[in-house]
Amino acid sequence: MKWLFFRRLAGVSAMREVRVLGHAFSPTTMLEDFSRLYGAAGGIASFLGQVRAGTAQALELLHYEPLTLPGMEALADQALERFSLHGVLAIHRTGHLSPGEPIVLVAAAAPHRREALQAVDFLMDHLKSAAWFWKRELRADGWHWIEPRKQDISDIARWA
């Protein structure tokens, strides 16, 4: 686990925790640890993305390791620059996942709820489209790559 400290809020250092995990994780344990760190923060917003139940029997998430983690760390730093936060958390899975399994967990602790919610929205918009992840789904007839969505590009444009 790697902690970086930023001077953002008066007298308090803002922190980020960013991880790319090749194995299953417990979002509630991660959130509990995060909440404990920021017990006096005012508010903690979070988003948990899970593998949707549907036609896919499994999901595979590939990434390019030398870019993924630095990219996510840079994104977390942008969120800390842009919003008044006590800290951010960003966890992303890679590898094989089953329906219902957690893929991504993002959280932000802030003195004010709007900042926390906006930081989570910002991180999710950018993670989904700017991080170096490629997904494919296993359906009855084999593996299918998931195409980029136009929606993701317009999501990012909201923050320009």
């Binding site: 993305g49 390019y64 870019l67 630095p70 490629w134 993701d152």
Partner: protein, 80 residues
């Protein structure tokens, strides 16, 4: 050693392999000649980015990979 060239995501299907090893130094024209025509066509498009030694290159036609460098060919990332 040469240059290790990685085909990421759906590009690996198109290339028929995850990676190839090419002679160093490697420039843009050398890369286009070394990959199959379907991959080369995608590489020429705007949507495929190229990273060399851990950094995405702003102008991929300026690729200049040295002995021991890793070159990654990055198609557009997947949506949610």
């Amino acid at each position: 050693m040469g240059v290790r060239v990685l085909f990421l995501g759906p590009l690996a299907d198109l290339a028929g392999t995850d990676e190839v090893r090419l002679a160093a130094p490697l420039n843009w024209e050398g890369l286009l000649c070394a990959v199959n025509p379907a991959v080369a066509e995608h590489l020429r498009g705007d949507r495929v980015k190229v990273a060399c030694a851990g950094k995405v290159i702003a102008d991929k036609t300026q690729l200049a990979a040295l002995d021991g460098d890793e070159v990654a060919l990055l198609p557009p990332v997947s949506g949610g």
